[in-house]
């Protein structure tokens, strides 16, 4: 492997950020699973050492990393922030899919039964003709 997993994810985050700064595409997002893997890889050792009694959820880990910031390796802090930003962007994309894809669904998915993500299946199948706005929202939502 030429690049480590962490480097790949980090490169992806950086690319997404650059694209969003350029205004062409909204931020690319990583999956929840990739987010967990990146946190473990960048922060795992420091968590075990400096925050052994706190859990991932409920803000406990975030608070501990903040409180012990002087001890935590800077890459962990940077990656933690990147992960939070990416997960926020993914959640926003999930919320935006319906609106971003409404026109495409009307145009390309007539007769689709509602429910069970049938519209999503149709839009993904028709992605060659579906609008960029819609496919970007679906991609950033992690639903393609």
């Amino acid at each position: 492997m030429i690049f480590s997993y962490r480097e790949l994810v980090r490169a992806g985050l950086a690319a997404g950020l650059l694209m969003s700064l350029a205004g062409t595409v909204s931020a690319q997002t990583i999956s929840y699973s990739e987010a967990g893997a990146l946190l473990a890889q960048s922060c795992g050792k420091d968590i075990v050492k400096f925050c052994p009694k706190v859990n991932l959820g409920g803000g406990a880990l975030r608070d501990c990393l903040t409180q012990r910031a002087d001890k935590i390796n800077p890459q962990c802090i940077a990656d933690y922030k990147a992960v939070v930003a990416s997960l926020d962007a993914r959640l926003a994309a999930q919320a935006a899919v319906t609106k971003a894809c409404r026109g495409d669904a009307t145009q390309f998915c007539q007769g689709t039964a509602p429910g069970n993500a049938h519209y999503l299946g149709c839009l993904n199948a028709a992605k060659k003709v579906v609008s960029k706005r819609c496919t970007t929202a679906i991609t950033n939502a992690g639903w393609n």
Partner: protein, 204 residues
């Protein structure tokens, strides 16, 4: 770290899917043998739909009843069967010893659960996250520990990973739903399950 999917409706052992999923053919799979997509497929199985009205509270009651009905040595019990036929996966989450602190190497596994729970195919369903121990130690303590561990997983899902808290609840099963009844101290019994408990009807 092994993960498995229970994919038959009988009282079967979980079928290991590690082989099915293959080895480390990409960096992502090296980190996460069980993907959110895999979970989505298993969890959406209509053939294994939960009976109407199943709730986390009813499962907790059944666990209490099982402890009353089955005193004595684990080897003599039938494990709790209430959940066997439901769409579910077994997940190995690493916790700190005798505590509910999730070890960092399991963050990505919880992320995979979140990937599945965020997918629209499963958007119409409710889930329970169970905790299970083996039979080492005290039965009541095991129940409490398994509840605390399931709580920790649900908390991570619903806060860090933004899963709607109305759709997922934690239930400790203690040592009442052993995977390997003949070997009650087999570590395979220590597991977290994600189980589809039926349609999510907002407001109910």
């Amino acid at each position: 770290m092994s993960r498995s999917i229970r994919n038959t409706s009988s009282l079967s052992f979980a079928v290991a899917v590690v082989a099915l999923l293959g080895g480390a053919h990409s960096p992502a799979s090296a980190q996460t043998a069980l993907s959110g997509d895999q979970i989505v497929q298993t969890m959406g199985s209509a053939a294994r739909a939960a009976p109407p009205g199943l709730t986390a509270a009813l499962i907790r009651q059944a666990v209490q009843q099982h402890m009353i009905d089955n005193p004595g040595m684990p080897i003599t019990w039938k494990p709790l069967e209430l959940l066997n036929n439901l769409a579910q996966i077994d997940v190995q989450i690493q916790f700190a010893l005798n505590s509910a602190i999730i070890r960092p190497e399991s963050y990505s596994t919880i992320g995979s659960m979140a990937d599945a729970l965020h997918h629209p195919v499963l958007g119409g369903y409710k889930f329970v996250v169970t905790g299970n121990t083996d039979t080492t130690g005290n039965r009541k303590d095991n129940l409490a520990l398994s509840q605390a561990r399931a709580d920790a997983v649900v908390e991570a899902l619903t806060t860090t990973f933004s899963v709607d808290p109305a759709r997922v609840e934690a239930v400790g099963l203690g040592q009442e739903a052993l995977e390997d009844v003949k070997n009650p101290k087999n570590p395979i019994n220590r597991r977290v399950q994600l189980i589809n408990i039926g349609k999510y009807l907002p407001g109910k």
